[in-house]
């Protein structure tokens, strides 16, 4: 059982958390400007990395806060926990973030062009 450190409540068993999948999928600011294919990148395509992976969790049985985690999906080792709206600081995290195809995707460019969340 994973031991995940909630930034607020501290380390807890994984079944206290709700999994949010890949992190840093920015919601396009002007979806109407995207082709169906580009919209599908945002909506469906995954990075699904084997190795360091940036993902979102929410402490659903605790403080209900969302946060980001860098976890090695090959070993389940947790490398870093960091708040929503921020970027990873660990070398593995930074590499995973920059290496993600999404950084070049039209959907992300669209999101960054307008107001964006995280």
């Amino acid at each position: 059982m994973l031991h995940i450190t909630c930034p607020w409540c501290g380390p807890r068993d994984d079944n206290e958390f709700h999994y949010g999948g890949e992190a840093h999928i920015l919601r396009p600011a002007a979806p109407e400007k995207l082709s169906d294919a580009e919209w599908a990148e945002y909506l469906f395509l995954k990075q699904n990395a084997k190795g360091p992976f940036l993902e979102r969790w929410s402490h659903s049985a605790g403080c209900r806060q969302w946060f980001n985690v860098v976890r090695n999906t090959a070993t389940d080792e947790i490398i870093e926990v960091y708040p929503m709206g921020e970027l990873p600081k660990s070398p593995e995290g930074i590499k995973a973030y920059e290496g993600n195809w999404r950084r070049q995707s039209a959907a992300e460019k669209n999101a960054k062009a307008g107001v964006s969340g995280t």
Partner: protein
């Protein structure tokens, strides 16, 4: 009578003052407290314990611990019966009933043994090669195979015992209470760290309890154990758990253990659990799990009376029983010589030591020779006499490379063969923790390599075989672990230990027989699954070259012992055939649990009434008292309908449905999800989440909203009310409540953190009673005099606060029936009071309580959808004909862009329509499918399915809704619903059937 003729007078840790009576296969025996079933049977000279899985060969006791592959027992009877227990682990108690397994009619004469006559037809994997023709017969073949297999029997019915679970946290968890584990616990405990020490047996000390030839700090090992345990027990932060097998090593130092709390007592005292599942999160783990001795693979090495050498020593020294009167030791290492000496010391006789090593020297060999025991160097056992018990052997000299034998065979009489093929460190947990194993050529075994979690291995499980070194390692690693867990303190000095020195071993994986392998007699590798060396070689020859293929093809290591005694032997024999180094062939992965763990313990108390919470409203007790029938809706229990005496389902529903439209009905709507939403940006937030416009909703006004997933599919719906300045009360579907709240939180926290808004669930803060029907206003007026109920003063989709039956209430004029209707929200504690007051006030109008079924019929008459019934995650608002609620003006909302994909508006999509059956009395089954072109029989092309279908007493006919391809363009068409027994003709209509002009809403 004490039939314990194999009991040794002056040895063992059993309590001779406490005789214990038990039965085996119906025959009564006596043992002593402290005996295992195995030791007690040996004391009584019983060696035939079971039959093997495939050939039904007679089998005895091989080991003294949890690695035992042969002596499997069905324990007890009735609902407390338990199959496949190891005789070597069962502590005996008065009245214990044990029975052998997998034999018929009895153990001594077993019909299944016929298999061993035809054994040559059953090589490894034979079943893959036959039983193929005719295909139809496989089920018959299979029936026979299944009944031949399967070992013991499940109990007939429910388990009467209790099981507990406990969550534990430790600075240091130490697994194994042998010398290394005790030393580690002492060192860690002294630092004040929180220590848990667990051992799978009933006694502390592990291997020390089996030895009579070593000393620790000048004391007998047993003394040292007692003193150490006493010291540990005095430490408040040290928890000692006996009879607790650590079964699994999971992520992030999370381990599970199964404690047998009261099994050894026969029956658990009232309220005491039978077993307890430990779930332990440890900062550091020290594994001190010891090592398991390897059998030697020689001709007919499975006969009762062939035992592991260390097990023989355990029976002699720990249990005070003699496994045989005349023994032959067969070994490839020095350790077995200690067994010879132990037997001699216990007045047993040792006929000879057969050693595969070319020349044997050293203190142990000298001691043995001094006792006049012949040592046959460079020899092997080539045959074993006796089938149900060993009666003798033949030995021959090994040839140069040990693959054959030379010279002539010498016969020896004996009734016990103590064999030792060396040791395998117990690396199971280390491997489960995802640590990497490495091959140690010195001891010819796998030992822990790089760890991948916060753990260390001490003693024999780390390949540290000597007692002194094991103790030293334990002390060192115990102190280290405590320090790493944040507890300072120097490691105490390691105790001094003395024991006979040992030389090296000779790995000889197969002892050659007189004939070529597989031609005469059997060299067993996996005893329980009857896998022989010849089977392993056959598999390799047939191309099953990976260890996993070997395991799966031959089933070696797949038995209830999970190959504890067989895996490395099998692996070594395989690598021989492949002419590859053992490490390059690899090892198999060890999977939890270490030893089989009771299913009931995993279930714990989450069974029966505690299996899952059942949620009830505060009006539930009234419904129960008044004969309601209930249905599960998610976790909720909801009143389904209220039959009056003798009414059928249909009669009750018809009555309830009519009553609402004719007079007034009352419904408990408390289960609807409710969310309190506050903040200056609340309206903006709703505007992004819902498909329609929310920026201009006035205080005291309600609006229906539809939520989509980002993929454009309908997710949930409900009415949300503006109850104050930037303060909203949202309602959701009963099943959707939790999801919707997390949905709102997720969008707020992860996408729009800049919006100033807060959400809180208030679902159970309010009891909600809906009264519907033309008379509902009259009923309200009787109970509430501080609200003007006139249609103008209190219009549809408005909310007012007032006092109903003296209870402060929020009144919502919303309607799920199309009738004049009020939803009354009161603080939950008054829910029942409100309901009873309304029933009383409604008497004169014959107010009718109704449940979910009538609610469904009424809303269907009006064509209102139910999320989860008209929708299933694949339906968008356009499909439902709800374009009216999808804003064209808003730049964006969740799901908008997906809706704009060409496919979402495709006329080919399944769209919501009404269906009218040709015969108005025929009610379609929900789930029935609609077809255009009827065929005499399937397959036929389906257009879609009936989502809702009822008889509507108000329409005087059946009504139905359906999702069908291109439905919106099919109004007026005649289609068919082919059912198993008949075909129903239907006409497509609007999905609305009653009060089409909406004239009833004001009563």
């Amino acid at each position: 009578m004490s039939g314990q003729s194999f009991r040794i007078r002056d040895k063992g840790r059993i309590d001779r003052s406490k005789p214990v009576r038990f039965t085996f296969d119906g025959k009564s025996y006596e043992g002593f407290e402290g005996d295992t079933l195995a030791s007690a049977l040996i004391a009584n000279g019983v060696h035939l314990i079971g039959r093997s899985f495939k050939y039904h060969r007679p089998r005895g006791i091989l080991a003294a611990g949890s690695e035992e592959p042969n002596a499997l027992i069905q324990l007890g009877g009735g609902n407390k019966s338990e199959p496949n227990l190891r005789a070597t682990q069962i502590e005996i108690f008065d009245g214990l009933e044990a029975a052998s397994q997998n034999r018929w009619p009895n153990l001594k004469f077993d019909v299944g043994a016929i298999n061993s006559v035809f054994h040559r037809l059953f090589p490894a994997g034979f079943y893959y090669k036959t039983f193929m023709w005719p295909a139809s017969l496989w089920l018959k073949y299979e029936h026979v195979i299944r009944h031949a297999a399967g070992l013991g029997k499940a109990p007939p019915d429910r388990d009467p015992d209790r099981y507990e679970k406990v969550h534990a946290h430790a600075d240091v968890l130490i697994v194994g209470g042998g010398p290394a584990g005790l030393a580690a616990a002492l060192a860690a405990g002294k630092t004040g760290a929180r220590v848990i020490l667990a051992d799978e047996t009933a006694d502390w000390g592990g291997s020390l309890l089996s030895e009579s030839d070593c000393e620790i700090d000048g004391k007998e090992p047993a003394r040292w154990v007692e003193e150490t345990v006493a010291e540990l027990e005095a430490m408040p932060e040290v928890t000692l758990v006996k009879r607790c097998t650590i079964t699994g090593y999971y992520d992030h130092n999370y381990l599970t253990g199964l404690e047998r709390v009261s099994d050894h007592l026969g029956a658990a005292p009232e309220h005491t659990p039978r077993q307890r599942l430990w779930k332990i999160r440890a900062k550091r783990v020290v594994l001190a799990t010891g090592a398991l001795e390897r059998p030697l693979v020689f001709t007919d090495n499975d006969r009762p009376g062939v035992m592991l050498s260390s097990a023989v020593r355990t029976y002699v020294n720990r249990y005070g029983v003699l496994p045989g009167r005349k023994a032959v030791i067969f070994t490839n290492n020095d350790d077995a010589y200690r067994t010879a000496l132990a037997l001699e010391e216990a007045h047993g006789r040792v006929a000879a030591i057969v050693d595969v090593r070319a020349s044997v020297t050293g203190p142990l060999a000298d001691a043995v020779r001094a006792k006049g025991i012949t040592v046959y160097e460079n020899h092997g056992i080539v045959s074993v006499q006796g089938t149900q018990k060993v009666t003798g052997i033949e030995v021959m000299q090994l040839d140069a490379d040990g693959t054959g034998v030379t010279g002539t065979a010498k016969s020896l009489n004996c009734d016990l063969i103590a064999m030792s093929g060396g040791w395998n460190p117990t690396v199971h947990l280390f491997s489960q923790s995802k640590g990497k194993l490495t091959w140690d050529p010195e001891m010819a075994a796998f030992i822990p390599g790089t760890a991948s979690q916060a753990l260390a291995s001490a003693g024999a499980c780390n390949g540290t075989m000597g007692l002194a070194d094991g103790l030293k390692e334990g002390v060192k690693l115990g102190a280290e672990a405590a320090r790493e867990a944040g507890h300072k303190g120097r490691a105490p000095a390691a105790p001094k230990a003395t024991e006979p020195a040992q030389g090296s071993l000779r790995p000889l994986w197969i002892t050659p027989g007189k004939a070529r392998l597989g031609r005469k007699g059997k060299h067993f590798v996996d005893f329980q699954n009857d896998v022989t060396a010849a089977d392993v070689q056959l598999a390799a020859r047939e191309g099953y070259r990976s260890v996993e293929h070997l395991k799966r093809y031959t089933t070696t290591g797949m038995g209830t012992d999970q190959g504890k005694t067989s895996n490395v032997n099998a692996l070594a024999i395989l690598s021989d055939v492949l002419a590859a180094e053992i490490p390059s062939v690899g090892t198999t992965t060890f999977r939890p649990p270490y030893t089989p763990a009771t299913i009931g313990a995993y279930a714990g108390r989450n069974v029966g009434k505690l299996f899952e919470p059942i949620r009830k409203t505060r009006i539930d007790e009234w419904a129960r008292a008044n004969g309601a029938k209930f249905e599960h809706v998610g976790q909720w229990m909801r009143a389904w309908y209220f039959p009056k005496n003798g009414e059928t389902f249909r009669q009750a529903i018809d009555r309830e449905v009519k009553a609402v439209r004719d007079s007034v009905g009352i419904l408990d709507a408390s289960t609807l999800g409710k969310i309190d939403i506050q903040g200056p940006d609340a309206a903006e937030f709703l505007n992004r989440i819902y498909t329609n416009a929310w920026l201009k909703l006035g205080v005291g006004r309600c609006r229906y909203g539809l939520m989509l997933k980002e993929d454009g599919m309908v997710m949930d719906d409900g009415v949300t009310t503006c109850i104050g300045e930037s303060h909203y009360h949202m309602t959701t579907t009963t099943g959707g409540a939790a999801n919707v709240l997390s949905w709102l939180e997720e969008w707020h926290q992860t996408e729009w953190p800049d919006l100033k808004v807060f959400f809180s669930s208030v679902t159970e803060q309010w009891s909600v009673v809906a009264i519907n029907g033309p008379k509902s206003r009259a009923v309200m007026q009787k109970l509430c005099n501080d609200v003007d109920f006139s249609a103008d003063a209190f219009p549809f989709m408005a909310m007012k606060e007032g006092t109903v039956a003296g209870i402060p209430a929020r009144l919502y004029r919303i309607s799920f029936t199309g009738e004049l209707s009020f939803e009354i929200n009161v603080p939950a504690r008054y829910g029942l009071a409100l309901w009873e007051a309304l029933m009383e006030a409604g008497k004169e109008f014959d107010i009718t309580p109704y449940g979910t079924e009538t609610m469904h019929v009424l809303r269907a008459e009006k064509g209102f959808i139910i999320v989860g019934q008209e929708t299933d995650g694949t339906v968008n608002p356009l499909d439902l004909g709800m374009d009216w609620i999808v804003s064209k003006k808003k730049p964006d909302f969740v799901g908008k862009r997906s809706l704009e994909r060409e496919s979402m508006a495709s006329p080919e999509r399944k769209q919501l329509v009404g269906l009218l059956t040709e015969d108005p009395q025929t009610v379609l089954p929900e789930g029935g499918h609609v077809v255009e072109k009827l065929k005499p029989q399937p397959p036929m092309v389906m257009l879609g399915h009936v989502t809702s279908s009822y008889y509507s007493p108000n329409c005087g006919r059946s009504i139905a809704m359906a999702l069908i391809k291109g439905g919106h363009a099919r109004h007026g068409q005649t289609l068919h619903v082919p059912l198993e027994d008949k075909v129903v003709k239907v006409t497509v209509t609007e999905p609305r059937f009653f009060d089409l002009e909406g004239e009833r809403i004001d009563g």
